[in-house]
Structures are given as C-alpha cells and as structure tokens.
Amino acid sequence: MKRTVGIAAVTTLLCAGCSSMGVEPWERDILAKDEMQLTTDEIEAATDDHIYFSKEASSGGRGFGGGGCGCN
C-alpha cells in the first residue's frame, strides 16, 4: 500500500514537473479529434467497467479531464 502511494506520488510529481512539455495552443489539431479523447465512447467504457466489475475483484481506475482541443 505504501509502495502504491509512493509510485503514484512520484508519477504525479514527475508529470507535474514537466512544465515545459507539450504543444502550442494552435498545434492541437490531432488532439482535438474524437479518436484521441481519453474516453472515446462513454457507453462502451461504462459497459466494460460494469462487466469486469461484476466478474472480477477490481473496478474502475480511469481518470478524466485534459487533452482535446484545449479551446476556450
């Protein structure tokens, strides 16, 4: 458990520290595409979560937010 939190903390810090990584606001054409969203199909994702939750002992884990066109 401690190890898990440790890994999670390090990963988060590493990513947060990448403040120079990324693209210019006008270079998000590919990221704006439907197929590049983190969850492409809500119903399919919910269906899979439901099936695997019913048949296995683990659940969820997905995150949300970010990506896309970054507009507004």
Binding site: V23, E35, T39, A45, A46, G60, G65, G66
Partner: protein
C-alpha cells in the same frame, strides 16, 4: 451479472459510480461539431456458456449543450438478467439439493455438475444525471447523481469532479469524489453468516435487509506530450463499508480426509439441502488502492490506446490489468478497432474452496470464484462507420475467458480429482448508435 454474481448489487452500482467518475469530459458525436442534443445509445448482449448468466441491456445517454461549454447529461440503462450463477458449493460425484434463496423451494444439481443457482431472473434500471460547466478560465466542474433499482436492491449516489489546466492547457490536474448509499433486501432475508443452509420453509437464520456505503476518490494528471501523444496517470482510493457479503453464496462443509461434502438429511416431510452448506461471510470493510496509466498515440491516422492498472486491497487481492486498443481507419468513414485485454488477480485472504470439518470455523470465508486466483483474457474487434446522415454506428464482438486455479494446499482428498474452478467463457456483442 445476476445479483448473486455481484458481491452485492451495491458493488455494481459503485462500479457505475466509478465509471461516472472515470467518464471523461463529454465529447459530442464529433468532438468538432456542436449539435444542441447529442445521443449515444447501445444494445448489449453478454452471455456465458454452460447455462450461466446472460444479460440483455439497453443504454442511452443524452447530452444537451448550453451556451459556452455547459453540459447536462442524462443516462438510462435497463438490464435483463437470466441464467444461473455458481452458488459457491463444490462439485460432487452424487446429486446435490439446495434450498432456494427465498427459502420457499429447492433445486437439485446433477452429479459431477458445478452447482449453479438459476433462481434469479432480474430486471434492473439505472439512472444518472450530471451537470458540467467551466469555472474561470482554466477549470471545469462536474457534479452528478445516480440511482438504480431492482426488486431487492436500491442504490443512490452523488459524485463531483474538478479539473484544472496548467501550462497552456498541456497539463491537467483533476480530482473526483463519489459517494454511494446502497441498501440490499435479499430474497428471504440476509442469512446469518456461516450458519447452515436450512430446510425449505425454515427461515430461522434469516435476518432482514442490509446497507452498504462506498466512498471513491480519484486524483490524476493528464499531460500532452506531443502533437500525437497524450498520457494520463491517476490514483484511486475506494472504501466500502457495510454488508459486503453475497447473501446467496455458500461454502461446502467437507470431510477433512476425503474432501467430500458432508451429507445431511432434511427434517421428516420437508425438502432441504442434501449436504451441509454454510452461508459465506466477508468482512464489513474493504479498502482498495489503484494506480492507472493510459497513453493514446496517433500515428498516421491510426490510434493506439494502451492502459495499465494495478489494484491492491486489504482483502489481500492484487490485480494487474493491461488493455490495448488499436484503431485503424479505412477511408474517411469507417474503422476497425481490435482489442486485447489481460487481467490477473490473486485470491482474497478469506477465499477458500471449501471448509473442512476439522478446522475451527473461520471468521470470514467465501468460495465465490470472483475472489479467487485467476487470469482473464479478452479478445475483440469493433467496427465503426458513419451513416448516410453523418451519424455513427458501431458493432463490437468480444470473447472473454477466465481461467482460475486453486492453491494446492486448499485441495482436500477427492477434490483433486475434479475441476473445481471451471473456466468462465463469455461473449459480448454490443451495437452502438450515436446521433
């Protein structure tokens, strides 16, 4: 996916909540177009072989966009479940009779067959609603509620998530929380844990309804790495508190030498179990920690979606999940998307194949195959296309196989001669229409 297949339905609905939490920022039919109303609908068939569970489901999500990126989302799912599910007892070389969960009837399983309880034919309806809007220049907030109902189970939940962009929107930090309050009213009443399954009509060891609360928290970071690559990492915490036992599952009480289930004779004139079975018992608390990472990589029109999740909990279950999808477009209007998923888990600390009559009664025990040690693989393919009126249809077909194993030290005597943990094979077919 019957009630007895879900440790309790509340677990399923917590799953629904978790998927709400993980639901991502809503994308309209085409992330680049803005209809006022957007619909995502699906028909699903899930079927296990060997007369086991079959589920037919209809889902719809309706999304209404309001001025300046505000969204109202309403979702409805209706499931019809049929088929049978393992009741936790082991196979025997003789027929076995069990009392139904209602306590009002009995059923018999043939010799050499895995005991399955086919009592339940169930219909479930689940409803979700959420509101999302921007907050300031760089943040957004999403709040929602969920509810579901079937004849012996009710769920109510609330959830909220918040996301903030940094670094010219290349980095997003997000946090979410979901609370579930569920109540379970098992058919015939929840049985007193680790007491025997009794004759038909004898409900002396049955209690009333039970409750369960679940708290889920997710924190994550999403990072745009390049024009073609986006990655996400997050940590989830989940705590379930209350009745986590499956009220319909039992363990066989077996002879410590032969490993055969101890026989039993029902009271004169009564129908009842032919052998000795004890209702299972799980702890009333469960804490899970997960870390999840996902990457989406675009190469010349094709998209690779790869994710990994590690879960560990205080029931001593550890699991690893690797999920790979590869979208291959054909022309402007269609695509194929093969899908491969690997899953493995270790057994719960209190999972056991059977209870030996020479051991002291454990505090917690369950023979539910879903808490056992197994590997699973999913292989599927999805085909999607744009219809004449520019809407999207898709169909996917997947095969799921679970292969379990029982640790050698849990196998007693004659149990070694049988396949105690048969494979689970299921097919998933889903039709989707977005408009």
């Amino acid at each position: 996916m019957t009630r007895s297949d879900n440790r309790s339905i509340s677990v399923t609905l917590a799953a629904a909540t978790c998927s709400l939490l993980g639901g991502g920022i809503p994308a309209p039919v085409d992330a680049q177009e803005e209809p006022a109303w957007d619909f995502n609908t699906s028909l699903l068939y899930y079927g296990e072989d060997d007369d086991r569970v079959k589920d037919y489901s209809v889902s719809a999500i309706a999304r209404r966009m309001f001025v300046d990126d505000r969204f109202l989302t309403i979702g409805l799912t209706v499931d019809v479940l049929t088929g049978a599910t393992p009741n936790g007892a082991i196979k025997q070389d003789v027929p076995q009779t069990f009392t139904r969960p209602s306590g009002d009837g009995a059923y018999t399983v043939a010799a050499g067959e895995l005991p399955l309880d086919d009592t339940f034919k169930d219909t479930r309806a689940a409803f979700t609603v959420s509101w999302q809007q921007p907050v300031g220049e760089t943040s957004l907030i999403n709040i929602g509620a969920s509810a579901s109902r079937e004849y012996d189970y009710t769920h109510i939940g609330l959830n909220a998530k918040f996301a903030r962009d940094f670094n010219r929107r290349n980095t997003t930090l997000s946090a979410g929380i979901a609370l579930s309050m569920d109540s379970l009213d098992p058919v015939g009443g929840a049985p007193t844990p680790l007491t025997p399954m009794l004759d038909v009509g004898d409900k002396s060891n049955r209690r009333g309804d039970e409750d369960k609360d679940v708290l889920d928290i997710v924190v994550g970071v999403t990072q745009v790495v390049s024009r073609n690559l986006i990655v996400q990492a997050n940590y989830s915490y989940s705590n379930s508190d209350g009745y986590l036992t499956d009220p319909y599952k039992v363990l066989s009480l077996v002879d410590s030498t032969t490993g055969d289930t101890l026989p039993r004779v029902p009271a004169p004139g009564a129908e009842g179990p032919s052998h000795q079975f004890l209702f299972e018992n799980r702890p009333d608390d469960r804490t899970k920690h997960s870390i999840y990472g996902q990457a989406k990589y675009y190469m010349n029109g094709k998209v690779l979606d790869a994710s990994y999740r590690f879960m560990t909990d205080d029931w001593e279950i550890d699991s690893h999940t690797v999920d790979l999808r590869y979208r291959i477009p054909f022309g402007a209007d269609r695509y194929f998307e093969p899908h491969l998923r690997f899953y493995t888990q270790t057994e719960a600390e209190f999972y056991m194949l059977s209870i030996s009559d020479s051991q002291p009664l454990p505090s917690f025990a369950s023979a539910d195959y879903r808490l056992g040690d197994f590997d699973a693989i999913t292989l599927g393919i999805k085909y999607g296309w744009k219809t004449r009126n520019d809407n999207e249809m898709s169909v996917r077909v997947e095969g799921y196989r679970q292969t379990g194993s029982i640790p050698g030290n849990q196998i007693i005597g004659n149990q070694a001669t049988r396949d105690n943990y048969p494979d689970l094979n299921a097919i998933i077919v889903q039709l989707g229409y977005r408009f």
